[in-house]
């Protein structure tokens, strides 16, 4: 039941905010007062409230750490592969 979804904060009004979960899902009235968050940040939302702000730096560091373990394909290469797959970068 502790499942949580990542989304980007679009608007903040008081304790609440509007969060974009991607694929056209935007939810109003997400409780944001338990985290320090700014518009544009990514948050992890569980049962209608943000349990934590996703730390972009740490996420990238973890990915890099793993890439080191993988010591094959670099982060950059994976990114390029992705852009190639989707047909370019916007």
């Amino acid at each position: 039941m502790c499942v949580a979804f990542p989304g980007r904060v679009l608007e903040i009004y008081g304790d609440f905010g509007k969060v974009d979960f991607g694929n056209g899902t935007i939810k109003d009235n997400v409780l944001l007062s338990l985290v320090n968050v700014n518009v544009g940040d990514y948050v992890l939302v569980h049962a209608g409230y943000a349990i934590q702000v996703i730390d972009e730096v740490e996420a990238r560091r973890t990915i890099e750490m793993w890439e080191e373990m993988n010591n094959g394909i670099s982060n950059e290469k994976r990114k390029q592969d992705f852009y190639e797959a989707i047909g370019g970068k916007l």
Binding site: M1, I54, E56, T62
Partner: protein
């Protein structure tokens, strides 16, 4: 590109890394066995979503034979006692508007409240006002609009509790909405499960994958007791397949070096050492710890949360004089949900699994929630079963 998408691509679809990790695991396992003398390396998770990832992505089939991944108590819906569901049904039948999360809507009671009424879903079918909500906020908003006496079925672990606490703190709850707490804490149940495995003739738990989202609240420090008290390495892990593989490899490395420690760097993108302090403070201010009943298992001391006295006007149990009776065995005949919850049995060990008990007609509680081990195994199959079959064929 947006961050969740990028994380998804790098953490979920990273098959090269997954292959590398599983090779490392296969290489290290015999060395660990030789060094520790363990017959089996049993690694327990404490989160329904970890079990989901493990089963959905077939991670068990990547494990060497000696490495066993088992699910511990990680689903609050599965362990909500039958008596709580019955109390909620009674309130619904007495005319209260009952708010519940979708997960608990179909939870069966052990004996029917009245002929044909054995869940909140069946209560609704017979005319009671039961409403499914996504969050406590939604229940508050709805209760304000109609003003009728209402009760919210407050389920959940540490992850969900702050969402209730912060709203009590802000005093935004209307007078017509009461709160029925069935909140539970993961650590006491985790200790219970570890002790059961230690006690029985089974092999003890050698490593722990800590619940990722409970940890966002309590912090990775909440699991220090695994290495410190039980000498078991623990890793706070994320929910992508590569997260789980990294956690298993880290545990094996710790077992090999003989130094049990807590590794929290795996899910650092959302988990900090201290957790969400504001959420912890809010929970402490609003709730007190109590003894509580875990379905099929019984009373576990200090493993529940209930509203503190200043909020007793919202406490449904106090206001409506709901007596908490001592625990009586509350699983339907044949159901092994308690053993599945403690990780002493796999869902496939239950004689009812996918026979009398299926996701569309759940007989036991672990088949109800999307995160219940039985429901997960029912949906995605069990690689363990395939492996056993392969073994039999080979022999």
């Amino acid at each position: 590109m947006d961050l969740p998408k990028e994380i998804e691509i790098l953490f979920r679809e990273n098959s090269e890394l997954a292959k590398k990790l599983s090779e490392e695991i296969s290489k290290l396992t015999p060395k660990v066995i030789e060094k520790t003398g363990l017959e089996r390396i049993k690694i327990m998770n404490f989160c329904g979503t970890h079990e989901w990832t493990t089963t959905h992505y077939g991670i068990r089939s990547l494990m060497p034979e000696e490495v066993e991944l088992i699910a511990g108590p990680g689903c609050p819906v599965c362990v909500t006692p039958s008596s709580d569901i019955k109390n909620m049904i009674k309130l619904a039948m007495d005319g209260y508007v009952v708010y519940t999360f979708g997960d608990a809507y179909k939870l069966p009671t052990v004996s029917h409240y009245k002929e044909g009424i054995g869940s909140l879903a069946s209560a609704k079918a017979s005319g009671a006002d039961v409403r499914i909500v996504y969050s406590f906020v939604d229940a508050i908003e709805d209760a304000k609009t109609h003003g009728k006496p209402s009760v919210f079925f407050g389920l959940g672990f540490e992850t969900t509790a702050p969402s209730y606490a912060v709203l009590f703190k802000k005093e935004v709850i209307p007078k017509n909405l009461m709160f029925y707490s069935s909140l539970k804490l993961t650590a006491p149940a985790a200790i219970y499960a570890i002790k059961i495995h230690k006690m029985s003739k089974r092999s003890p738990v050698s490593g722990v994958i800590g619940p990722g989202h409970v940890s966002t609240i309590v912090g990775s420090k909440g699991w220090d007791f695994f290495p410190e008290e039980f000498g078991i390495p623990a890793v706070v892990s994320g929910f992508e397949p590569v997260d789980i593989l990294t956690a298993v490899l880290t545990i094996l490395k710790d077992l090999y070096t003989g130094k049990a420690k807590l590794t929290d760097l795996e899910y650092k993108r959302v988990v900090t050492r201290d957790g969400n302090i504001y959420a912890q403070d809010a929970v402490r201010e609003i709730f007190r710890t109590t003894d509580t009943i875990w379905r099929g298992i019984g009373n576990i001391p200090n493993s529940g949360l209930d509203l503190r006295d200043p909020f007793k006007e919202f406490n449904a149990k106090l206001q409506l004089n709901i007596k908490e009776n001592p625990w009586d065995y509350d699983l339907p005949p044949g159901c092994k949900c308690n053993e599945v919850t403690l990780g002493t049995a796999y869902p496939t060990d239950c004689p009812l699994f996918m026979k009398a008990c299926t996701p569309s007609r759940p007989w036991g509680p672990c088949m109800v929630s999307l995160e219940g081990s039985c429901a997960v195994w029912a949906r995605f199959g069990s690689s363990q079963r395939v492996l056993n079959l392969m073994k039999e064929v080979r022999e």
